[in-house]
Symmetry: C2
Subunit: 359 residues, 2 copies
């Protein structure tokens, strides 16, 4: 890199290297399905700031909540209950849906949208089980619906720079990875769908948090998982129905690169992703909680990049809309998400059996 290039490299940490559409194109009109805090406080404000997206319909289990959100947002034309959405009401008013319900409720909404040929942006993990995720893949194929699992790290510039560095051989051959995402949800009370296996699926910490380490490692290393080993444990009363108040798991990826990870919904909020290669190390910390900073060490030289950050949800929505407008496939298609679901299932199976599980 010439000294002149340093400036443009730093600029790349807020640059959309994926954008193909002109800024005047769009908007892609979204129905927001599920009006929990993530949709209202993160997704909808991001869409409001976005280049290519607009929220025109909101869908909730509660007609009152839907109505309240309609009244709060100028662009929103209709507030629907889940039943009304399933019945196809106001379906001319949106081009795409964002599904952000409890995991086990994704399938029905994806099916309803895909049947009508709507594009689908579905929160991660895709569903509560591998089987139900396969049904999502099938529904999107049948409806010929462009669909993406909402992996916001795919459009986080720091993560994209990490992938470029690995691809360019900056750290030599990847050898091993450490990943963690932990947070404390006990303060949110006992009544949470994340603690209910009927709604969350196999468990809570690995399903909800561990998936970040798994998917981001896949994305940065361009390698898929081949086997998993894990140990998990629940002790706190809130976690009595799920096996993983805390979990430690190792995912073996192609070329025998090992990612060794932890996840806990009852720990200090922290996250990092560390990739050690034959000639250097990339540390991303914080990694998954809304901002991502990068540290690259090659030999004895370390470069730290501390970014102001982007709105990860805005990037994600605009990326998906850009793909729709440009008529190309997004990276995180349901077939891609299914690999994570099979990995998650292997992690939970290994914790139960104590044995290494092939994926």
């Amino acid at each position: 890199m010439e000294p002149d290039d340093v400036r443009s490299y730093l600029d790349s940490f807020s640059h959309r290297d994926w954008q193909e559409s002109d800024e005047e194109e769009g908007p892609v009109r979204f129905a927001m399905v599920g009006l929990g805090w993530w949709t209202r406080d993160e997704a909808m404000p991001a869409v409001e700031e976005s280049t290519f997206c607009e929220t025109t319909v909101v869908v909730s289990g509660s007609a009152e909540k839907a109505e309240e959100v309609v009244n709060e947002h100028e662009t929103v034309e209709a507030g629907l209950t889940y039943e009304e959405f399933q019945d196809g009401e106001a379906s001319d008013a949106y081009d795409a849906v964002y599904v952000c319900t409890p995991n086990a409720k994704h399938l029905e909404h994806v099916e309803a949208a895909a049947e009508r040929g709507k594009a689908v942006l579905c929160e991660k993990p895709m569903e509560a089980s591998v089987e139900r995720s396969e049904a999502i893949v099938e529904a999107c194929r049948e409806g010929d619906a462009t669909a993406m699992v909402a992996y916001r790290m795919h459009t986080e510039p720091t993560i994209r720079r990490a992938r470029e560095l690995v691809r360019a051989g900056a750290i030599g051959e990847p050898v091993h990875v450490h990943g963690d995402m932990s947070q404390g949800i006990v303060g949110w009370g006992a009544d949470q769908w994340r603690l209910d296996p009927e709604l969350a699926g196999y468990g809570t910490s690995v399903m909800d948090l561990g998936i970040y380490s798994i998917n981001t490692t896949r994305f940065v290393l361009d390698r898929d998982p081949v086997a998993a080993q894990s140990t998990m444990h629940s002790d706190h009363e809130y976690f009595s129905e799920v096996p993983d108040e805390v979990a430690a798991f190792t995912v073996a990826l192609e070329d025998d690169v090992y990612a060794t990870c932890t996840a806990s919904q009852n720990a200090h909020m922290s996250s990092h992703l560390r990739i050690t290669g034959s000639e250097g190390t990339i540390l991303i910390e914080p990694a998954f909680h809304g901002e991502s900073d990068l540290e690259l060490t090659v030999g004895n030289t370390t470069v730290e990049v501390d970014t102001p950050g982007v709105d990860q949800m805005e990037e994600e929505f605009d990326y998906f809309a850009d793909c729709l407008l440009a008529g190309r496939e997004p990276e995180g298609m349901p077939e891609h998400g299914l690999v994570d679901m099979r990995t998650l299932a292997a992690v939970y199976e290994s914790a139960e059996s104590g044995e290494r599980v092939e994926i």
Copy 2:
């Protein structure tokens, strides 16, 4: 902590909180058994700078090498071959032995020393197998020899501060740990005892490097291992006789705290130990390669302590000598080291079987 205390806390990063003897006491006279680069370049210079120790005898497989080292050091009275050492030559000239031969040669030298009631400082891992390590424990008991496994992290001030912080509840209850020690030994050539299972034992990366993550976690958390899971792999031709060119392993400790670790003898040199608790995180990085810096995060506040460091070998030798002079037991006794050996064996067994192994 009052502002006044900040100064004394920083001073504690170079303070010997363990020292009981007066500086005039000693010296404890050491026979250095095994004259590889670690003994000559690290241990002997450390002893030369130490408060309580002196090298008076050196022992090598080669009479010429022993003679050479005798000529280089004023305090050294005798240079012996292994046979002469076994036969008890010059045994009045030393009080203690430092055993730094290939792992599988530790036992014979420990036995010879313990039989004569000499104190024993034995490099880690203790021996090549659990069985041979049990024989070391037995030999030291029978000879009533004060013995310690050379865990230099036990007297690294940063590690001791980390233990104090955990004990004081600074990060709440420990939840999970990440540990790594990696380095590149391919540049040292194909002819290394670390790559020969006859001399190294179960393998190379976990035996030689992974033990740092295991033992330091035990030390800092005051918890012992109960089970292990692991995956390992060798690809490079130099590693054809050992299973672990790279390894990822999880050790479950008492109270269901999980330590998830990596070790590789064919990767970029790196090491860290990260302990996440319910209320904070301690990151030690670098951790195991001769210096140790500490970062403590509680809530949103992070304190970084970047120390000039101590000579870890000097601290270790003086600690052992201080124990001898004060007539107390050291922390890292062979019984303590045996727990690591059982853990190492479980890690290798799990890699082979794919199953979780109880310790």
